[in-house]
Symmetry: C2
Subunit: 230 residues, 2 copies
């Protein structure tokens, strides 16, 4: 049965942008599972599957409804054990949680701020108003004030990627010789930036940029099909 | 056959302090392998097993001589597959490299600087002179100048542990329900600090401190047997 992925979009339904939804799209493709996305705007999330979650991604797989990207990856891993593994064992599952926490606490705060006005501009009127209200309350600043720190924070952001960059001298993917869910965790964050804003987040010569390019090419170029913001 | 672990010590042979040697001691204990340490001072490293490595740890296991803590852990994992796993699968091996790079680039620089004068004080005269010369060349400052930044950097160091701290809200060890080599990677760094200097690196209420305490208790309290610096 085709899996449904409730996937966050703005006014353009063909440009899903959520980092967490991209993790799941890549995980579904990695497993070779047939799926269909249900384009979902911020204000639609409350109605997804009867309001099961405050956020997307949410998937429906037959009778199973699962929210949260990491929980979804674990669900897929165990529901489809004969498909290519997302974790390559129990150690991979456990360590991927560390990668997830690192990505969330290191990469997301910078990109979330740097792309804030661009993400706002992607929404239709009602969703833009919701986004501005909720984010300005969270940050205690206007969206424009938050994004204004983008250039000043760039060098420090690039430096914060050093553990990943250094790891790439040992192996081509976080997953080793090939990608695993931990790669998609970090990929999702950079894909969020790529789709939201035309901003040179990474230096072209950065090994992280090369790794990101390899991820864009995976699964028939699934993630490259959505063009970078221009 | 008993494995030999060349283990870095200062003037007191009962206080091995190297973070990388502690990773290996914990890995050997985790595997339940019999081993004997060969106390090794900085100036002895060049003579270890015919000068096979510029650093310790080095192990000899019968005819196999292996240098580098990560390489040793991989060697032990594959040479003793029937013993408790250090990685719990190929995903764990790959992701542990990310944890290792994170620990090396996030935790080691601060502790290496904060403990620098204390590590110097642990050496005998000849090794102290070597240590001062090599480290002052590396840092371009006196040992005392490097360590002087300890208090100023403490809050930022504690903040840098946030990915680990946050992960501990999901699971008790980097390895999941129980420790794996990735735990010993981070443990080794904090044990280095614990043995070198009486300095409150972590707040008592920090979940990282609780996790560190659990690691100290592992394997019959192997790592707790060396008292904290006083």
């Amino acid at each position: 049965m085709t899996i449904l992925l409730y996937d966050l979009v703005g006014s353009d339904m063909t440009r899903p942008f959520s980092p967490h939804c991209w993790k799941v799209a890549m995980a579904l493709a990695h497993k070779g599972l047939e799926y269909r996305t249900v384009p979902t705007r911020f204000l639609d999330v409350a109605t997804v599957e009867g309001g099961i979650s405050k956020t997307v991604p949410v998937i429906r797989d037959g009778d199973h409804v699962v929210a949260d990207s990491f929980a979804i990856a674990l669900y897929l891993e165990h529901a489809y054990p004969d498909r290519p593994s997302l974790f390559a064992g129990a150690g991979g599952e456990a360590h991927a949680r560390f990668v997830e926490r690192w990505s969330q606490l290191t990469i997301h705060p910078y990109i979330g701020a740097a792309a804030l006005t661009a993400l706002h501009a992607m929404q239709d009127e009602a969703n833009a108003a919701y986004f501005r209200g909720s984010r300005e309350q969270r940050f205690g600043k206007t969206l424009e004030e938050v994004t204004a720190g983008r250039d000043a924070g760039l060098a420090s952001f690039r430096a914060s990627l050093e553990p990943l960059r250094s790891m790439l001298a040992y192996q081509p993917f976080v997953g080793g010789d090939g990608p695993l869910f931990a790669d998609y965790i970090v990929f999702g964050a950079l894909q969020w930036a790529r789709i939201a804003m035309p901003y040179r987040l990474l230096d072209d010569a950065d090994p992280v940029a090369a790794w990101f390019g390899h991820c864009l090419a995976l699964h028939g170029g699934l993630a490259a099909r959505v063009a970078a913001a221009a």
